[in-house]
Symmetry: C2
Subunit: 323 residues, 2 copies
Amino acid sequence: MKRPWQGQLEKPPPEDVPRWDPKNPLCPGATRANGEVNPNYEGTFVFPNDFPALQPDAPEPDNSGHPLFRAAAARGVCKVMCFHPHSDLTLPLMSLLEIRAVIDAWAELEAELGASYPWVQIFENKGAMMGCSNPHPHCQVWASSFLPNEARLEERTQRQHHSQHGVPMLLEYAEQEAHRKERLVVENEDWLVVVPYWAIWPFQTLLLPRRHVLRLRDLCDSERDSLASIMQRLLIKYDNLFQISFPYSMGWHGAPTGPHLQEDCEHWQLHAHYYPPLLRSATVRKFMVGYEMLAQAQRDLTPEQAAERLRALPEVHYKLRPQ
Amino acid sequence: MKRPWQGQLEKPPPEDVPRWDPKNPLCPGATRANGEVNPNYEGTFVFPNDFPALQPDAPEPDNSGHPLFRAAAARGVCKVMCFHPHSDLTLPLMSLLEIRAVIDAWAELEAELGASYPWVQIFENKGAMMGCSNPHPHCQVWASSFLPNEARLEERTQRQHHSQHGVPMLLEYAEQEAHRKERLVVENEDWLVVVPYWAIWPFQTLLLPRRHVLRLRDLCDSERDSLASIMQRLLIKYDNLFQISFPYSMGWHGAPTGPHLQEDCEHWQLHAHYYPPLLRSATVRKFMVGYEMLAQAQRDLTPEQAAERLRALPEVHYKLRPQ
Ligand SMILES: O=P(O)(O)O[C@H]1O[C@H](CO)[C@@H](O)[C@H](O)[C@H]1O
Ligand SMILES: O=P(O)(O)O[C@H]1O[C@H](CO)[C@@H](O)[C@H](O)[C@H]1O
């Protein structure tokens, strides 16, 4: 962090997104790539991704050749969920009721797609820096016929810890962090947000319930309200850090679904990961390149330093602060 | 790939880098951050990184607490190697003799630092898009007291394959690819370059020797010459793809060193990875975000499509082509 930065600068996010743009395919009343017209929705709005990466009918590849060359069909569906009818809003600028509606829609989609698919990945790419090509507040939901790599890794490590210690790893971890406090960012009666001990992105966080919860659908009414509240507090801090709409990719991991609904998944603990790219300022990001790609991630600041900076930030959004 | 791209555009690399800039700390005769003055070097030039991520004397952390919170000291040294005295050159624009000098310097550093350190990571971040903050042609060499994650993974999978099949995995893989040809980009008597079967970056490649070679230092004279030649051919194709100085991170993986020099490392095969970020054009990159970070990489084009495009490109650099 001591090196003067003479490298690439990012463009800060645009400040002038129109509230409604009939040419934006995510807006109410707009026409999408497939010719369909969006309803004049007033809350959340879910539709099939017009350019899906996964399809339900992918053919089985030929695997009769050499054993080093093995492939498997990846089947699934991709959906898009708009958070709100207004393009100029983001989650940290929405009301608690509006965020709560997003949470309910997430839980519904997880249950609906998870009825048959083993994994339902809910994720949000926020900001152009994170490959998001549409400023309208939205997330994606990709359901797959297989456990993706990250899910398999979490399945393995959580199962191993549970069988060795008899307690869900992330439940024990959350208890430790709540007690230690040095990596804590925000907390309430049901949830806590920490910069995890193993964080590799500068301001990476982990959002954890205090109670043992397997899946989004298992959250009770009051836990959904307190989730809306802690998300709002975290995301306002994020925006306040560099006084911009803070870019990140985030997503939910919970116990697998589909056929796994019938299995014992007690080793799982629901959680969300936030991976923000920025390091020094609104325009200087962390590059995960050379050494990181070829050897191992290396941190530019410690999780404790990052947590301390986030903790110290106000919980009123800089755009809504009285001048 | 069918989706129209309305997202972030990258800035193409600058075309007007001065050959010599006394304010650039990598140039011959320039003063570095620590006050030292570079010699007027005429070939390659190696010096200690003035902002090292690894240091030889990192203290041992306290690990007396809870078993979920475990850390270890990461010790090492970081060096920088300039490829050439001229700032306006890159490897694909250098002569075979000049590239050969880089290869010799790599092998020397690997031997020198590998005498005591278990892992010597040679890597090049090329282009501002890959976090490179200095246009002068250079790479970095980080030697560490431990096997980094990627090295440990390659150690494990290569060892497993060797004990099961009695042959080094990547030697068998190279033979298969040389025979199948569909993922082949360039080849010569000693080397081949493929877009690997498991590639996740659009134009990712793997550079492999045909002979069983453990480390850079083991390459004989003629293999170093043919390596210079195949690197030049690959990198010219890369530059020709979008007619810009093609950004990438690349690095060498070979058998571990230090104490491992005394062990049986026959399962290892020397190779280099090239990870370029671009996808559609000089200005549209592949974003490894949301689904990729939280679930699993997904490809925008197949390895066979990428290999075919690279194969079809001329082996004369677009800047040196007669108009
Ligand atoms: O070493 P540099 O050029 O200062 O920095 C660059 O390479 C490092 C090693 O891959 C990365 O950690 C940095 O994010 C990147 O900017
Ligand atoms: O799905 P989108 O918004 O078209 O695309 C974005 O998210 C995907 C899933 O993380 C990535 O594969 C793409 O690289 C990114 O641009």
